[in-house]
Symmetry: C2
Subunit: 273 residues, 2 copies
């Protein structure tokens, strides 16, 4: 009965095994922002990453205020990580279309420029679903590797290079927008070499800045025929809890749980996303 | 480069370590049904369970037709499991309010009666989020253990026993309905003894049939002050893919991916849920 979490769960073993120094490190950059779903979604992603060796996780949070619950949770996971506060610049606060996740991703890349010269970069949003085999697929990327992304919220419901007999045939993507690389943020990885990328660009700009062409793509996931990542979207929690504030719950566990559910989150004044 | 998934990923190690024969087994019963989100959601849950020792997973699928992709995936995970086809009885097909997951859970319990006499039972839907510490909390349940469930879609946004100074004070739950146990399906575990439960009952009926009272509850998760499980709901995929059927994609990877995304799933004729 006196067993501790550490004794029974596999975390400590994972951390030990995570140190496969012969494997290239995968730097996973996860933009996130405060909301009631934040901790559950990052919990799911963390428990995915716990099954993958040699991961370094950059969690970049769109807030000025460090989220202590999240910081404590990241420490608990045992996954090598850095937590960064990366608020969206105030100049966008009046914009109708806001650059979601851009400040977060740029901050992650800036950190990488300063702290790492090898390995692979992957942008992993917190609400997607990742099969652990995806990380195996991307680990030895030389220029750019790509694979299909399922359940994308465009009309195709799928984003992937079209491949026939091992050759690039074009893109399967709902929206063109004059882009060279019609690829979803979850659909590629690149090596973390020193590279002339332009911060602030999205998928296409980022990949173009690497001076690669679609013919340089390394098709992963069995020539883009396997699905190892999906845009699963989580419904926003729409409840308007009132009873939780009632005085009769003073001196009960409800007071503590309220903080866990709604820490720093004011639905009337959501963060810059 | 020739490394296999098995060599690099932690799965084989997990399976080995999963055999902690001194620990009580946790039987996780997961009702599920065919839809585009089925494989991603079960992938996330599987990767959670891979971090927990001595789990036995009963995946009970509301369909007549075995889902071979799912069966193959379950084998890949290395988690000890049984896959059951448990379609909703046809008599409910005309009902407006259908008994969601009831046939699945009963089939899981029937399997347990036949194959196991010890351990703990937990009902884990495929779209919830589980912190691995939850399984540690429930493993030594003697009569019934309970903990808070967050993001529940009732107006409280939370479901938990109210606890003060270690004592049961009542329930925090949006709906009463004359129940003795106002508890969410994800909020309790019971031992798998031979017990006089009535199949077909939901949470309250099930717990009442165990002849326990609220005062028998073992409060877990630090006296119900920690949140280790959330009702995260996944948005239904609303895309209406048409381009994916175009003839120009014959002999490309798009044909293969179509099957992965829409296997046996006809949005015009969804299954009985």
């Amino acid at each position: 009965m006196a067993r501790t979490v550490r004794e029974e769960l596999r975390r400590s073993v994972v951390v030990e095994d995570n140190n496969h120094s012969e494997l290239p490190t995968i730097y996973v950059i996860t933009p996130t922002y405060p909301r009631p779903e934040q901790i559950p979604e990052l919990t799911r992603l963390a428990q995915t990453l716990m099954n993958v060796p040699n991961i370094y996780w950059l969690v970049t949070d769109d807030t000025d205020t460090p989220n202590q619950d999240l910081i404590d949770y990241l420490t608990f996971t045992g996954i090598p990580h850095t937590y960064l506060n990366t608020p969206m610049p105030p100049k966008y606060s009046g914009h109708k279309v806001k650059p979601k996740g851009v400040a977060n991703r740029n901050a992650g890349m800036e950190w990488l420029r300063q702290h790492a010269s090898k390995g692979v970069i992957y942008f992993a949003d917190d609400d997607n679903t990742y099969d652990i085999r995806l990380f195996q697929e991307m680990r030895y990327t030389e220029k750019v590797s790509m694979w299909p992304v399922g359940l994308v919220s465009n009309k195709e419901g799928l984003s992937t290079p079209v491949v026939s007999e091992g050759k690039f045939q074009g893109w399967f993507e709902g929206w063109n927008g004059g882009r060279t690389f019609l690829v979803d943020m979850a659909g590629f990885a690149v090596p973390n070499a020193t590279m002339p990328y332009k911060p602030g660009h999205e998928e296409d700009g980022f990949l173009q800045s690497l001076h690669i062409s679609p013919y340089d793509i390394e098709f992963k996931a069995e020539q883009c025929t396997k699905m190892y990542v999906w845009h699963t979207q989580t419904k926003k929690s729409s409840h308007q809890p009132n009873n939780i504030f009632k005085k009769k719950y003073d001196n009960t566990n409800i007071r503590v749980l309220k903080e866990l559910l709604y820490y720093d989150f004011n639905p009337k004044n959501p963060p810059n996303l």
